[in-house]
Each structure stands twice: as structure tokens, then as C-alpha cells.
């Protein structure tokens, strides 16, 4: 492990953060989606991050086994689904209610800022390591 593993580590982080941004885009795009039942209503999704461990079987206290990050799954927002009376809507149930999504736009914007800042700092790490490697390659050149 050394400078070259930095690319692997930040690569996994860039991937994870872009999945986060994708999910936010999906949530925001579906914020206005109406559904005919509470079960079918759109719920905001959020990726769950976990660090990548090479192997937990031969755990070595001093070895940072790779150390990247992955998306371990998706969690769904448990904010209660609101219903609205809208008889004219074709999706409306027998009582005339439609069910709104539980996406909170402000929350999504905040998460988007967090994800994009994380992405940027990983890019910065990658750039710096690349420069260091280039300088190491040209070490001793007259």
C-alpha cells in the first residue's frame, strides 16, 4: 500500500458519492409523484455507506485493509406519508385521496451539498497524489 492505492481508495469514494448524487436526483425528480395508496407512495431513498474491508477473517490491527468505501444498501425515509383530497385525480382511491411522496426538498439540497463537497475533496486528494507520483518519476532528472 502506498501512493498508488490512493487511486483505488478515492476511486471507490468517487463512485459512492456519485451514487449518492444520483439518488438525490431521483428523489427530487420524484418529489411531486402522487400515488393511489400509502404503500405505493414514493419514499425518499438514501444510500448507506460502509468501508470496504479486504477480509475480516485475518484481521490485522496495523493493516488498513484497502480502506475504500462502498454503498452497502439503500435506506428509505420513514417520514409519514401525507394524503390529500383530490377526487379528480385518476390515481385517487375510493375515498378520493392521493398520497404524496415524503421527499423533503430542503433536506435533499443539504445532502447534495454534502455529497458534492465530499466528491470535490476526493478529487483533490487524487490530483495531489498524481502530482506527487509525477515528481517521483522525474526524480533525479537533470
Amino acid at each position: 500500500m502506498g501512493l498508488s492505492s490512493v487511486f483505488e481508495i478515492t476511486g471507490t469514494a468517487l463512485n459512492a458519492q456519485s451514487i449518492h448524487i444520483d439518488t438525490i436526483a431521483k428523489n427530487m425528480a420524484n418529489a411531486q409523484v402522487l400515488a393511489g395508496s400509502e404503500q405505493a407512495a414514493y419514499r425518499a431513498k438514501r444510500p448507506v455507506f460502509a468501508s470496504i474491508l479486504e477480509s475480516s477473517m485475518n484481521f490485522d490491527f496495523n493493516k488498513l485493509s484497502m480502506g475504500g468505501v462502498k454503498v452497502d444498501g439503500m435506506s428509505y425515509s420513514d417520514t409519514p406519508i401525507e394524503k390529500q383530497m383530490m377526487r379528480e385525480n385518476p390515481f385517487a382511491d375510493a375515498q378520493g385521496y392521493v398520497y404524496l411522496s415524503n421527499v423533503n426538498m430542503v433536506e435533499e439540497m443539504a445532502y447534495m451539498m454534502e455529497a458534492s463537497r465530499n466528491y470535490q475533496s476526493n478529487i483533490e486528494v487524487m490530483n495531489t497524489s498524481k502530482q506527487l507520483m509525477q515528481r517521483t518519476i522525474s526524480l533525479g532528472a537533470a
Partner: protein, 131 residues
């Protein structure tokens, strides 16, 4: 230790320590949003002691199943960062602290490179006899 090793001094070892530390800090930054991730780092003092052959206090392991500690590692223990504040998701990465540490580490890596470049050009002058 041959003459070339003598000319390079500590900086060759410093490069390997700095690149190793760089990847640990990169892993910290990569995991800045991972729940329950604990930020890690090396202690420079221990790494320096290891390099100069000083005695490093290590725990004795009497069983092969014991977790390996400082004795087995070239740069000393990979320690856990003490966070200045707590978070709700148990993550101890403080993005600004890690970024500062990463750029400090990069700068020191470049310093070592600069010293190595100096020694190499000195050696070259000695070999060729030309300026």
C-alpha cells in the same frame, strides 16, 4: 549501508512513510460519510524511532491469535484519531482536519523529493566531474 544509502540519508525512508500515510489519510477522506468509521493515522515519532533503530515499547504476544501490534509494523502502530467533536453517526472523520493533514503530508513528501534531487545531482557532479 553503502555510499548511495548514506547520501540519501533519511529521505528515502521518509518517502515510503509519507506515501503510506498519504493512503491512510485518503482512506479517511474517502470514508468521511461512512457511519461508525474511525479515522486513523500514524504517529511520526514512533515511525522515526523505528527507522533510527530505537527501542519501541511493544506488547508481548504469547499466542499467535493475538492481534499484531507495533512490533510487526514498519512504521509503528496505525492509531485512531481523537476527534475534537462527536457526531450522531459515530464517524470520527473531520474533513477539514484530514484535508489539512493530507496537504501537510504532501508538502513534506515534496520536501523529501527535493532533498533527494539535491543529493542525486551532487552525486552526479562527483561522478562526472563536470558542473
Amino acid at each position: 549501508m553503502n555510499i548511495i544509502d548514506k547520501a540519501f540519508g533519511i529521505h528515502a525512508a521518509a518517502l515510503s512513510f509519507r506515501s503510506q500515510r498519504g493512503s491512510v489519510l485518503a482512506a479517511n477522506i474517502a470514508n468521511s460519510a461512512t457511519p461508525d468509521f474511525l479515522a486513523r493515522d500514524y504517529d511520526f515519532r514512533t515511525a522515526l524511532k523505528k527507522f533510527s533503530g530505537d527501542q519501541v515499547v511493544a506488547m508481548q504476544s504469547t499466542n499467535p491469535m493475538h492481534i499484531k501490534t507495533s512490533a510487526s509494523n514498519e512504521f509503528g502502530d496505525l492509531l485512531y484519531r481523537v476527534p475534537t467533536r462527536t457526531t450522531t453517526n459515530g464517524n470520527t472523520v473531520e474533513a477539514d482536519v484530514e484535508q489539512a493533514a493530507f496537504s501537510d503530508n504532501a508538502l513534506r513528501y515534496q520536501t523529501s523529493l527535493q532533498f533527494l534531487n539535491g543529493s542525486i545531482s551532487g552525486l552526479r557532479k562527483a561522478i562526472t566531474g563536470k558542473i
